[in-house]
């Protein structure tokens, strides 16, 4: 049975925890609005880019094109790009992405394929380090990043493209969390190289200037950058959304805990008073 003093201390400490989680929730809510706007306003670019690319690839035919488009023809070396946040305390956000990547990595390894992992964001690196640390080939730090900026996407993309040029891998897959709503962020895996486009339904026959091939060579790296930027934006919004709902329930839990502790505190205080009264009364009776 904790003493009154202990209970009081606990109530105080839970109260200050609640203050912190409440503050974090409000900060996340403010950041979420910005991140969400950024994610939404970034969508037209990548959507259009995708539709143009799928039209282009359709007109190129299946077997021809630069290696960035059709792949190296092999399927043995895989690069997993795991994009997570720099900071924790955002519910299952980081661990869900890491879990998906782990699953894929184990599957590839059991199939006897070689796996390389490029981590973007510290949390993903931390959670993959123990099991897959020996497959790490690089890390991109996002600590300095305030909101998703295109220059980071360029940096990550050029990192990946350099590795592709020096034929370090055949297939690249990217892991991030798609922002659905504040309550739901869906960990997503997307194959980046060779790219998978949805079959285009458009039938417009475009003229290409310069030739399809030259445009492709020019646009493929940009398309990869665009997809990474998209992933950064979606991740940014997802992180804040996940943090907001995690901190909301933390705040609620702290509230419930405080209520319970206060009841316990009051009960034991009453018990002390009753005890004292009994002692006084029985002392008086003894006289």
């Amino acid at each position: 049975m904790p003493s009154l003093k202990d209970l009081k201390n606990r109530i105080e400490s839970v109260k200050s925890t609640r203050k912190i989680t409440k503050a974090m929730q409000m900060v996340a809510a403010a950041k979420l609005r910005r991140a969400q706007e950024a994610a939404v306003s970034g969508r037209p670019y990548s959507d259009r880019f995708d539709s143009v690319m799928s039209g282009l690839t359709a007109s190129m035919g299946v077997d021809s094109g630069p290696p960035l488009l059709i792949g190296t023809g092999a399927d043995t070396n895989h690069l997993l790009i795991v994009m997570t946040a720099e900071r924790g305390l955002c519910g299952g956000f980081n661990s869900n992405i890491a879990k998906l990547a782990k699953l894929k990595a184990s599957k590839l390894i059991s199939e006897g394929k070689s796996v390389k992992i490029l981590t973007v964001g510290k949390k993903g690196r931390d959670s993959l380090k123990r099991e897959f640390g020996k497959y790490f080939v690089g890390h991109v730090d996002l600590t300095e990043m305030k909101g998703a900026s295109y220059s980071y996407a360029v940096e990550v993309a050029s990192n990946i493209l350099n590795r592709f040029d020096s034929s370090e891998f055949d297939v690249a897959t990217i892991y991030y969390s798609r922002f659905e709503s504040v309550m739901s962020q869906i960990p997503t895996e997307k194959q980046l190289i060779p790219p998978v486009f949805q079959a285009s339904t458009e039938s417009t026959a475009y003229d290409y200037e310069p030739s399809e091939e030259e445009i492709l060579i020019d646009l493929l790296p940009q398309s990869i950058t665009a997809q990474i930027f998209r992933a950064l934006l979606e991740n940014g919004a997802s992180e804040q959304g996940a943090r907001m709902s995690a901190m909301d329930s933390a705040t609620r839990n702290a509230g419930e805990m405080i209520d319970k502790l206060i009841i316990q505190y009051n009960r034991s205080r009453q018990a002390v008073i009753t005890n004292e009264l009994i002692e006084i009364i029985s002392g008086a009776e003894a006289l």
């Binding site: 670019y45 295109y150 475009y206 290409y208 200037e209 020019d218 940009q222 665009a226």
Partner: protein
Amino acid sequence: MAKLIQFDLVSPEKSLVSVKANEINIPGSEGDFSAMSDHAPIITTLRPGFINIFTADKEEQYFVTGGFAEVSAETTSVLAEKAFTKDDLSRAVADKLIMDAKLKHEEIGSDATAKYCSDLEVALSDI
């Protein structure tokens, strides 16, 4: 009254322009061209340069550093790597763009980066 064409200018960060225009001048990599309603469908890459948009009542100008344009009979969209309004593009910004391009050229040193540098300098020479 000529038919209008839907024009969109989007950069990775946001959508900058979405208007109905009479005519849009676009700096294609193989040469400048104007897109109007019922233009033949074409997709072209861009070189650094100015996009002029002529709407019913005014003319707007944007600078793009590259990207591509997709023109069809009813719509024209430009997906720019970086896009600036005329007011945002000061001499300092222009110099920074040229500097960055030169650094990249020194690093990679291909024909493409050399061409990009010179195109950029020409396009930005009269600011």
